[in-house]
């Protein structure tokens, strides 16, 4: 059978996507019909609300039928690109579209056809689906006439990537270091086998919520590097700005204390006091929410910097907190009546995810996406058994799934000029350097005036590929089986080749809503350490896997250097 032609072997890469070479018949079609033979089809495409699927435009009362046998109920009908004749394809029974292709003469090629319901290309001679950039561009154009984007997010500034240049100090720098710093004696610590930077934090009165987050931050690689390389020098900051509230200075103090090699537990009293002054509504010895503290702390770092340097929040460059944690979320709202889509971009410093509701009778399984290290015995292929375990990727799936906005949440459609029911879908436009996943385990219902904690176990991977949740992937799947450059003018810059992340810290919560305890697990050199206030112990990886994750911290596997905007930036 001719259909086994291996034309998909030769590929070329565009935007990191492998693009198959055209089959000889598609290449022939291109040769006969000019450089953009599929652009005309844009007018024949109809984008069906609400999902936005592309199909060949036809009258609603028109029933497509095979020109040969009159069948209208077969699942795949194809329209010839040359003469628009519709034929069916019902392998292995019969293929009238393949017969139609034999009409090809030197004058006209009838070998390429379009699926009338799915707007996908088919080569009748090869009897297989084929892909074409020009065709996909036509589909995207048909789509985007129904989408108006709010002005492109200003935060997406392109800066060219530059190569890493190794550095070593020259004589002057060397003498500066020797004269102004003292080396840390690595032999002085009693626990010589514990890695540097592990130091217990004393509980100052229900402050485990703070200790747990601080431990995670001390070992957040970009943040740690920033402070340990003296990028925010507290003495300099205070001499320049006066002795005043600066969470970054307090953080600098703590980094010095944590990494100096002293193993006695440290009391972050000064930092607690500073944070109370910043978040006065949370200032008490009552138990607090670790996530709330995290957000509040990032906010505190940012506020101070903004005041000092008047840097606008652009590209997340305003302060170290945003440079490390800030990403961009894309939100699309599609009108269910006319298909019109409204898109907005919002910055975010973390991802708050709902735990999936009761699995019940569904077939949900642990995710079968790649790069997922799964603890569950049943592998993804045996998914007919209900694994019933919630996973982080499952939560992310839910986060990026199209959500029907209820009839009480009708969205004003600019095209229809009335409030319509709509479909909302989130995706990630720009990934942060460090992704913090916050699991919404504490439910507060103002309606029922009660709060409760969701204890359900959540499985999380050690390595995570965020590619399926990027806007480019989500949009691509919305459009169907297409290969096309996403946001044509943006090209590669924001599509970071690496969307791979590694887990380095897990903040867990045990106990009840109002009486519980936070503990952090840190991953250093592939060993796991439990940080329970003042006590630090090495633990087995399985202990961590079995723990109740509340906040999970992942860092990008590969970091890139970008050209600096000005000389000598901090």
């Amino acid at each position: 059978m001719s259909s086994k032609i291996n034309h998909h072997h030769q590929n070329d890469k565009t935007n990191g996507q492998i693009f198959p070479q055209p089959c000889p018949h598609l290449a022939d079609f291109h040769a006969r019909n000019g450089t953009k033979p599929f652009r005309a089809i844009q007018d024949c495409l109809h984008i069906k609300p609400p999902g936005g699927r592309a199909a060949i435009r036809r009258d609603s009362s028109e029933v497509p039928r095979c020109g040969v046998c009159g069948d209208s109920s077969c699942p795949r009908l194809y329209a010839c690109m040359a003469c628009a004749a519709v034929s069916c394809h019902v392998p292995p029974h019969s293929s009238h579209v393949a017969i139609h292709a034999t009409k090809t003469s030197s004058a006209c090629s009838h070998e390429i056809a379009v699926d009338v319901d799915r707007a996908e290309l088919f080569c009748c001679a090869c009897r297989d689906q084929v892909y074409d950039r020009d065709f996909d561009a036509a589909v995207v154009l048909a789509h985007t006439t129904s989408i108006i984007q709010s002005s492109k997010p200003e935060n997406l500034r392109k800066r060219r990537r530059i190569d890493y240049r190794p550095w070593s100090p020259d004589l002057r720098e060397r003498s500066l270091m020797v004269n102004n710093a003292s080396p840390i004696d690595s032999m002085s610590s009693s626990n010589g086998d514990l890695p540097r930077g592990l130091r217990g934090l004393n509980n100052l009165g229900n402050t485990c919520f703070m200790n747990s987050v601080l431990q995670a931050l001390f070992h957040t690689p970009p943040l740690r590097n920033y402070f340990l390389s003296d990028r925010h020098n507290r003495y300099y900051c205070q001499s320049k700005n006066g002795v005043r509230l600066c969470l970054a200075c307090d953080l600098d103090t703590m980094f010095s204390a944590i990494f100096c090699g002293d193993r006695m537990p440290y009391s972050p009293a000064k930092f607690l006091y500073s944070w109370w002054r910043h978040a006065s509504n949370l200032a008490s010895y009552e138990q607090q929410d670790a996530h709330e503290f995290f957000i509040s702390m990032l906010d505190g770092i940012h506020e101070k910097v903004e005041k000092d340097q008047h840097k606008p929040r652009r590209n997340g460059d305003c302060c170290i907190a945003h440079r490390v944690f800030s990403g961009i979320l894309r939100s699309d709202v599609m009108c269910m009546a006319c298909g019109f889509t409204s898109t907005t971009f919002d910055p975010c410093v973390d991802f708050s995810l709902d735990l999936e509701p009761n699995q019940g009778s569904s077939m949900k399984t642990s995710s079968t996406k790649t790069n997922h290290s799964c603890n569950c015995e049943a592998d993804g292929m045996n998914s007919s058994q209900n694994c019933g375990i919630s996973t982080l990727m499952g939560c992310l799936d839910r986060f990026t799934r199209p959500e029907r906005l209820g009839s009480d949440q009708k969205f004003f459609c600019q095209q229809c000029q009335v409030r319509q029911e709509s479909l909302k879908q989130m995706s990630i436009r720009k990934l942060p350097l460090v992704s913090c996943f916050h699991i919404k385990r504490f439910e507060h219902s103002s309606v029922r005036k009660m709060s409760r904690k969701v204890d359900r176990y959540l499985q999380f991977p050690l390595s995570l590929d965020m590619a399926p949740y990027l806007s480019s992937s989500i949009l691509r799947s919305r459009f169907g089986n297409r290969f096309f450059p996403f946001d044509g003018d943006e090209s590669n810059t924001l599509n970071e080749p690496s969307s791979e992340f590694e887990l380095f810290a897990v903040v867990t919560h045990t106990g009840k809503l109002d009486a519980g305890h936070y503990v952090t697990y840190l991953r250093l050199s592939n060993k796991w350490y439990k940080c329970d206030d003042a006590w630090i112990t090495e633990v087995n990886e399985n202990t961590v896997r079995a723990a109740q994750g509340y906040m999970m911290f992942y860092v990008q596997k590969m970091l890139y250097y970008k050209a600096s905007e000005k000389q000598g930036t901090s």
């Binding site: 086994k4 069906k48 109920s73 292995p92 029974h93 077939m363 079968t368 799934r401």
Partner: protein, 111 residues
């Protein structure tokens, strides 16, 4: 090119050699046409899509397809492999819901 693959499990399809001018359309065809004309078929397709995604059926089919690999595989191959498994693994509640919708549609268009 017209070589036919012999297959034991044929998907149920109408007889190709039927001469359509001389025979009445079957009930199945009438229903199909009525559903397309009224737009109900499209709505049911969207509903089915939603349900099959929700329950994980689509992800399962995707992983089955990936098992086949990328090379030396045509759409027809995949359809041939997936169809029996796909049909068998549609959850009963989904089938029931679709059937109910079709029944109500038929009742509402009964002449």
């Amino acid at each position: 090119m017209s070589a036919k693959r012999s297959s034991i499990n044929r998907p149920p399809t109408p007889d190709v050699d039927r001469d359509r001018e001389n025979q009445e359309p079957t009930l199945q065809e009438i229903i199909n046409i009525k559903m397309i004309e009224s737009g109900e078929k499209e709505r049911l397709k969207e509903l089915l899509r939603e349900r099959l995604i929700e329950c994980g059926w689509r992800d399962e089919m995707k992983s089955l397809c990936r098992k086949k690999g990328r090379n030396n595989v045509t759409v027809d191959d995949l359809v041939h492999v997936i169809t029996p498994k796909g049909r068998a693994s549609v959850p009963d509640p989904v089938k029931a819901e679709l059937l109910q919708r079709i029944r109500s549609f038929l009742a509402s268009t009964a002449t």
